[in-house]
């Protein structure tokens, strides 16, 4: 097990009140595996990812839970230990490529910077490593001394991946890495990630709201709603046999290019508020299958079939 997140809770303390972004998230990742974390905007996916590397903004506070990375609890780790982990043992690629890089340094300098921080190497060795990484992500050496503004979004994202993998991390987190990209460029970037993962055997977490890209590069998927994981399992299990009404709802309302006549059935009700969490199951106000226990207490995450978990009273009854 390379990563275990146990009962994680994170809130943002703002002037307008508290935002409960993550409300008891549980999941784990086996070494070498790839987990997709899906959910809509505001579900708490990015907050959870930032919590792993303790990159939350000032207002963000982890109020409970543990994040075990190779058995060490990152929630309790000191800043100087975290600095050794970030970029070296755990790396992250962020959402908006155009605002991720420092505009006044070349791409080679920015990759070399990470290498120099974590490895005892000379400047020349760091530069060589930078060029090697650029080549690995399909960017030719003659662009190494270009500045970020001279690249397109897709190429910047490839530079970000080069930076993230430069010290061969054990875990790579990608937060909506292709959301801002055109679909053909998205295909390029996903293809690259797939190849590099195979080459370096990196464990991976992919965060996205796009259900379609998860099967491309992930073995497992966790569905997040209102700051909690409501379902988790292998791609085959969750995509063919979803066991949570929210997961079913997601699949039913999204158009699918391979199913053009599919009737789109919206999920009734409104997106959940992160300021006011209802008692019981977070999805119950919108759930067409809700019954007696749903508004009293939140259902526990339970195994509904081998390796397939869901937090739902409906599916607990039948297994």
């Amino acid at each position: 097990m390379i990563l275990e997140v146990r009962d994680l809770a994170v809130e943002y303390r703002t002037l307008e009140g508290i935002v409960y972004a993550v409300n008891g998230m549980d999941f784990e990742l086996q070494k070498g595996h790839s987990l997709g974390i899906v959910g809509e905007t505001g579900a708490g996916k990015t907050t959870m990812a930032l919590s792993i590397l303790r990159l939350l903004p000032r207002q963000g506070v982890i109020t409970r839970g543990r994040i075990l990375f190779e058995k060490e609890d990152l929630v309790k780790a000191k800043e100087k230990d975290l600095q050794k982990i970030r970029g070296d043992k755990i790396s992250m690629v962020f959402q908006d490529p155009m605002s991720s890089l420092n505009p006044v340094f070349t791409v080679k300098q920015q990759i070399a910077e990470v290498v120099k921080i974590h490895r005892q190497v000379s400047n020349k060795e760091a530069d060589d490593r930078a060029i090697e990484m650029l080549r690995a992500v399909g960017i030719s050496e003659d662009r190494a001394d270009n500045y970020p503004h001279e690249f397109s979004g897709g190429m910047i994202q490839r530079v970000m991946i080069a930076i993230a993998l430069s010290c061969q991390p054990k875990l790579l987190i990608l937060d909506e890495p292709t959301t801002a990209l055109d679909v053909t460029i998205q295909a390029q970037v996903l293809d690259l990630v797939k190849r590099l993962r195979a080459e370096f055997s990196t464990s991976m977490i992919l965060i996205t709201h796009d259900l379609g890209i998860v099967p491309e590069i992930c073995d497992e998927v966790a569905v997040v709603y209102s700051g909690r994981v409501v379902e988790k399992g292998g791609i085959g299990d969750v995509y063919k046999d979803p066991r949570h009404p929210y997961t079913e709802g997601l699949f039913n309302c999204v158009p699918d290019i391979e199913d053009p006549d599919k009737k789109l059935i919206p999920i009734s009700g409104l997106s959940p508020s992160s300021r006011l969490i209802p008692p019981g199951c977070p999805f119950h106000p919108r759930c067409k299958d809700r019954f007696d226990p749903c508004d009293k207490s939140a259902p526990r995450f339970a195994e509904v079939s081998p390796g397939h978990y869901a937090a739902c009273y409906k599916y607990r009854e039948c297994c």
């Binding site: 809509e40 679909v183 309302c253 290019i257 789109l264 919206p266």
Partner: protein
């Protein structure tokens, strides 16, 4: 499918160039032609730089085209003077991408929906009030939100207000410019269902612009594929998706993610980035990235020709 009686819109050789520096022009829309039959939904797809948004706005003269014709019910609207154009705008409407930012934050829902009615002198207070109630019901907005302001509503409701405004004066043609891109998945499903329903109920003709091919496939009868300001292929939705002819269309379709984990298309990964259409000379726009490029493609611009019934493609592979 609606009755396809006569041609509602005929776009002929539309061009729009933007001068970004002395003698440097972005060929945003470069000689595009297409027809939309009455009651039809024509999807206009393309990635960044394809010119789809500029095309949509040019068709309505929200951006003034540089040359070409836009025939609406047989008349060239580019010939109309200011007064005639304003009169015709009752019939030619638009729904924008970001529902919240297009609504005046200082007006409530009632005022927003009644605004087009007042501008075009629809009638007295009573007539306007009745019409607003009718429109609100048509788009599924409840009476209680009439006094709400845009910031109090979610994206889906705001977009319904936008739709109510667009249909207020009983138009026959609406440009839908990425109408669901800024909405979350459930809101998307609701708005797509509403747009489809209204098109049949009110016999509306749509130019539906989107980068999301799954959405376009679901809603459109026919589709036009743009790349760097030019039409690559035009066909019925089914024909385009089942038998794409243009190498760009094939690559584009292969890149679209799907929820069906068993039915995945063979990925065609394109090399390079989408360039900006600056100062383009002769030759196919897709030449640099085309996996099937031939020598002629670099020097001669292929013309859009009918290959199968109503299936047009601009590509030297098809002579």
């Amino acid at each position: 499918m609606s009755l396809h009686r006569k041609k509602k819109i005929e776009v002929r050789n539309l061009k729009k160039y933007f001068e970004i520096a002395k003698s440097t022009f972005v060929h945003a829309v470069d000689d595009i032609s297409f027809d939309i039959m009455e009651g039809e939904i024509l999807g206009l797809v393309g990635e960044s730089g394809s010119g789809k948004t500029t095309a949509g706005r040019s068709v309505l003269r929200l951006i003034e085209p540089d040359s070409g014709e836009v025939l609406f019910d047989g008349q060239n609207i580019l010939d109309f003077d200011h007064h005639e154009m304003k009169r015709r705008r009752r019939d030619l409407q638009i729904i924008f991408q970001d529902p919240v930012s297009v609504l005046n934050p200082r007006k409530n829902v009632f005022q927003l929906i009644s605004e087009p009615l007042r501008i075009h002198q629809y009638g007295g207070r009573k007539a306007i009030r009745e019409r607003v109630c009718y429109l609100a019901e048509k788009v599924g907005l409840s009476g209680e939100i009439m006094s709400c302001y845009p910031h109090e509503l979610d994206g889906g409701r705001c977009q319904r207000v936008g739709i109510a405004r667009a249909i207020a004066l009983d138009p026959s043609f609406i440009v839908c410019d990425e109408p669901v891109s800024a909405l979350d998945v459930s809101e998307q499903a609701q708005v797509l269902n509403l747009l489809e329903q209204l098109s049949t109920e009110l016999n509306l003709t749509y130019l539906f612009i989107s980068h999301d091919l799954s959405v376009v496939r679901r809603l459109s009868h026919r589709i036009v594929v743009l790349y760097l300001g030019m039409v690559m292929e035009t066909a019925s939705a089914k024909e385009l998706f089942d038998t794409p002819l243009h190498p760009y269309t094939r690559a584009l379709l292969s890149a679209v993610p799907t929820l069906n984990i068993d039915k995945r298309r063979e990925r065609i990964i394109l090399k390079g980035d989408v360039p900006t259409p600056i100062n383009f000379g002769e030759g196919c726009r897709f030449f640099r990235r085309c996996p099937q490029a031939m020598e002629v493609c670099g020097g001669v611009t292929p013309l859009l020709k009918e290959k199968n019934t109503s299936h047009f493609v601009a590509c030297h592979l098809y002579k």
